[in-house]
């Protein structure tokens, strides 16, 4: 028995190392000088430079207007993650409420319209989507960055499923109490959904933070760059055979993954719940 446990732990640690090593390499290498990296390659052990590269990555602007610093890009990514999560949860909860708790004509039709959004990811309809957003004058705005992504209705289904599991007696009691639809929603349904909201929030924040193609298309002003765009710009530089400051580049990569990873680790329980629920 003991021996098999020992084996179990070993296999688990192999898996953990498989996941962890790549990121660890970047973290360790980011504390070395570019010169060391160029001569000796990536490093497994931390170097002597400390977190100097992080300071540069955070404060040094990359473009012309001096606005696209690491700080600014992190801020934009945070706005993107928060805006996407909050917006999506708000809108989905409301829509699901209307679908489940009201008798509305054409409910089936509305349901299918919402459902259809799952069929065509943004990447596939990107050019027409861009057209629409720019016609509305939303280029270079947080609204334009966030709202079109909310169009996908995954969260609506999740809340719809969740509401269906809430016992009918609650609504009956509320109606006896003379509570109207607004009071029922805000006083009963929202508090009941608390842990679900938290779970969804974690997942959606990560999804919003990690957006790649859409921010690249949408923004022409450096003040709206997200950290993931910063990553892409590093690659553009390398592909044209210009040697970047590797330690700063690694620092930027690490900075781009720390916030979402931290959120997932800190709120592990909700994260797992959110993941399981949102993909059901």
């Amino acid at each position: 028995m003991n021996r098999s446990h020992w084996l179990d732990h070993t296999i688990l640690w192999v898996g953990i190392l498989f996941l962890l090593t790549p990121v660890w390499l970047l973290i360790a290498s980011s504390t070395h000088s570019t010169q060391t990296i160029l001569q000796e390659g990536l490093q497994f052990l931390p170097g002597s430079e400390g977190f100097a590269a992080y300071k540069t990555a955070l404060t040094k602007a990359t473009g012309f207007t001096d606005t696209a610093t690491g700080y600014r890009m992190l801020l934009n990514s945070t706005i993107m993650g928060l805006g996407f999560a909050i917006g999506k949860i708000l809108i989905s909860m409301m829509a699901a409420y209307a679908l489940v708790y009201f008798r509305i004509p054409f409910a089936g039709f509305l349901f299918w319209i919402i459902f259809s959004t799952l069929l065509l990811p943004l990447e596939v309809r990107i050019v027409p989507s861009y057209d629409v957003v720019s016609q509305l004058g939303l280029l270079n705005s947080y609204t334009g960055l966030i709202v079109p992504l909310i169009a996908s209705a995954t969260a609506t289904f999740y809340f719809q499923q969740f509401y269906k599991t809430i016992p009918n007696e609650l609504l009956e009691a509320a109606q006896l109490d003379n509570a109207g639809p607004f009071r029922f929603f805000f006083d009963i349904l929202v508090p009941l959904s608390r842990t679900m909201i938290a779970a969804m929030f974690i997942i959606m924040f990560v999804v919003g933070w990690n957006q790649y193609l859409w921010p690249i298309m949408m923004t022409t002003e450096e003040s709206y760059y997200t950290i993931i765009m910063g990553i892409k710009n590093i690659l553009s530089v390398i592909r044209e055979s210009r040697v970047p400051d590797f330690n700063v580049a690694f620092a930027l990569v690490v900075l781009s993954l720390v916030p979402p990873v931290a959120v997932v680790i800190i709120f592990q329980r909700w994260f797992i719940q959110g993941l399981v629920e949102s993909e059901k």
């Binding site: 790549p22 409420y97 957003v133 790649y212 993931i228």
Partner: protein
């Protein structure tokens, strides 16, 4: 649709609640999607200065193109590999994590955090690690006699892409498998322990069939992932090269429509993809229906 016995019966209020979602869907989804459909029958100059109806020509062009066919086949192969490998790996880890008693929650955290890493970030990380000049993996492979060059070798590029995609997808599968394993009741497991002496037989005859619904469901999730969510990964890692060997259908939409400025052609590809996703969803629904009877 709604299966609540008791409902409110207000006339205006539900519309107020559903309006924001509908508005956003109409403006940012239905409108662009219809436009893509419409444009797929058009031949248009890049700047949108002229457009002409060409019927099914864009579609015919696609189906006659051997490049499109090979992209299609690669997408299927790649998705199957990613799904198969990441499911297998995650299953092993989940079974082991379920078996150990100590440190279980620590293991769970250490095996799930990668979920939060953006595909583009995973791509650039792998780019550095396998880089000819600074990458440690390149050196390691070279010392084993493998001159790893995803820039020129289709096999290497495909292997690299699959490896990173699997790396990114293991946590999701792990979470679901672990949840599935923990859902198998203690009574079932104890009964199994009495029936089958060997642990491996126990796994294949009792546990695995019980996990089958989870596995089927995950298969769809994984295929969707490989189809769509790996865009950032491909764009940072191989950009479809060498020789178009790592181009997926979604990446080709981007290449033709976005970089190549041929809107009609890329719209036709979007419509084809739409049909594909539709069939995948249909498959999923059929399956979920079956799952209810378990």
């Amino acid at each position: 649709m709604s299966n609540k016995r008791v409902q409110f019966s207000h006339s205006a209020i539900p519309y107020l609640f559903i309006a924001p979602q509908m508005l956003i869907i109409l403006i940012f989804f239905i409108w662009p999607a219809l436009q893509a459909f419409y444009l797929s029958f058009m031949l248009e100059d890049p700047w949108g200065l002229s457009r002409e109806f060409v019927g099914l020509r864009n579609y015919l062009y696609l189906f006659k193109s051997s490049e499109y066919l090979s992209t299609f086949l690669f997408t299927i192969f790649y998705s199957a590999m990613v799904a198969g490998l990441s499911l297998g790996l995650a299953l092993v880890l989940a079974v082991k994590a379920n078996a150990v008693i100590r440190f279980q929650s620590t293991y769970r955290v250490l095996l799930t955090w990668v979920y939060a890493v953006a595909p583009a970030v995973a791509g650039i990380t792998a780019y550095f690690i396998f880089n000819r000049h600074i990458g440690v993996m390149y050196d390691l492979l070279l010392s084993m006699g493998w001159d790893f060059s995803p820039e020129t070798n289709a096999f290497d590029a495909t292997a690299l892409l699959i490896l990173v995609s699997v790396w990114k997808q293991v946590p999701v599968n792990f979470v679901f498998f672990l949840a599935g394993l923990q859902g198998i009741s203690k009574a079932v497991r104890e009964a199994a322990a009495l029936d089958c002496a060997s642990p491996s037989r126990r796994f294949w005859t009792i546990t695995f069939p019980l996990l089958a619904p989870t596995t089927f469901f995950l298969l769809v999730i994984n295929l969707t992932y490989a189809f769509f969510e790996t865009f950032g990964l491909i764009d940072t890692l191989t950009r479809g090269a060498p020789g178009g060997a790592t181009t997926t259908l979604v990446y080709k939409v981007y290449q033709d429509g976005f970089l190549g400025a041929d809107l009609g052609l890329s719209s036709a590809q979007s419509v084809v993809l739409m049909a594909l996703v539709l069939s995948l969803t249909f498959f999923q629904f059929r399956f979920i229906e079956r799952k209810v009877h378990y």
